[in-house]
Symmetry: C2
Subunit: 256 residues, 2 copies
Amino acid sequence: MPIEMPIGPALPALVVDRSSPVPLYFQLAQHLERAIDQGQLPPDTMLANEIQLAGQLGLSRPTVRRAMQYLVDKGLLVRRRGVGTRVVQPRVRRPLQLTSLHDDLLAGGRLPRTRVLSNVVEPAKPDIAQVLALPSGTPVISLVRLRSADGRPIARLTNHLLGDLPDARSLTTQALEQHGLYALLRAAGVVLHAAHQSIGARPATLAEARLLDETKGAALLTMSRLTFDERGRAVEYGTHVYVASRYSFELSLLNG
Amino acid sequence: MPIEMPIGPALPALVVDRSSPVPLYFQLAQHLERAIDQGQLPPDTMLANEIQLAGQLGLSRPTVRRAMQYLVDKGLLVRRRGVGTRVVQPRVRRPLQLTSLHDDLLAGGRLPRTRVLSNVVEPAKPDIAQVLALPSGTPVISLVRLRSADGRPIARLTNHLLGDLPDARSLTTQALEQHGLYALLRAAGVVLHAAHQSIGARPATLAEARLLDETKGAALLTMSRLTFDERGRAVEYGTHVYVASRYSFELSLLNG
DNA sequence: TAGTGGTCTAGACCACCGA
DNA sequence: CGGTGGTCTAGACCACTAA
């Protein structure tokens, strides 16, 4: 059986800051998450029960429950009625925001470089207008970028964005060559809430092969993504191709 | 502005069943979800506020809040402090369980067929043992299936499962030709909790081309998936190849 | 049987939004 | 300013698990 000592006092004392604007449940959740990350709560550790924890921390039981539920959703804890709460083994976290190739490469310790091949505002072509649910001819930002890592091309990224975004100005070619598109959008206050993705594959055309430093017919991964803001409005549509020999998609899934 | 009439009385009356084992918050959530699905609460509709709703339904405010939070997580509602709760536009739902090719094909209105090419229990080869975190040589179930839809091959599915699953018996060749693997596992009480996936692409070998009714060098999608149960134990490892000309992965993502 | 998490209640105060 | 959702509390009862 995966039994371990119950825990509570062994944790570094948490002093909740009731004057902070950060919610108490979130302070507790961060505290536990840090303890798990740093190995103070190794996998399979049983946590003290809610009542004890609440008493030790000077919080109410619902507040403690909320912190725990947050970590369960994130994949760090498992709870079973009649049994208790345990720290989970391998660590499959629900990603907190939409993945970005730029950030993924950075996180993987690779050095991403971006060359902007095209950056214009133009009337939406009929197919793009339809996907974004716009009247045909509405101005949209059209973007083509070549993304490389460690000196070799990885992907050609094609994006179409709503022209009336509050931040259209900030998408300069220079900014785009130094940051990921999603990071720029977030920094400008655009909240990306949900997305539809479709991932496929096909052989490279001659032009693609040349651009991507591959041979004609090499396998390319294709990904198209339609992104929505919190109002459910389509904000961005991207159609990208990736060099399959140098890139693959890594995903983590959690059951609800 | 996306304004609509406040709602509440216009809903078909909900009678909560306090004797049911189904939690009250969930009864309410299902009721609202059905109303949204059936168009009684069209997109952009403002809901009545929590206090009113609680009063009308004879529930407490926390219970109503919990139902709403559930629907927010599912992508059906959007809430803003000081403003209210609105039904969301397009409908990007968080999938409720790990996707299964068999079920995806069924849901897409296609007719999946499965041929079991191999179904044996054997000592784990070193690479498989390492991925599943088992001692080398531990018995594992090895499975190879050919999945077709509408009469044409779609994918070759290769799986390795822990040999000591409670349901190893139920994975008969006959059962596997009629149901998806995940459905069989769930039916046998195995709770799949999380997974790591990696999606890539490569050209088909000659043998793969023959099996999959394609030409050598055709683009194949590859997907490997390591699945964990609720204890965080690796339970299943699959390495699959899909005919890219007839299949693509569709995903929905929600920000946390 | 004792202990756990799951659900539910009736209050309270606050931060934020729009008029 | 009034109204909204966000947070927090201190109880209560229940279903499930394990010994």
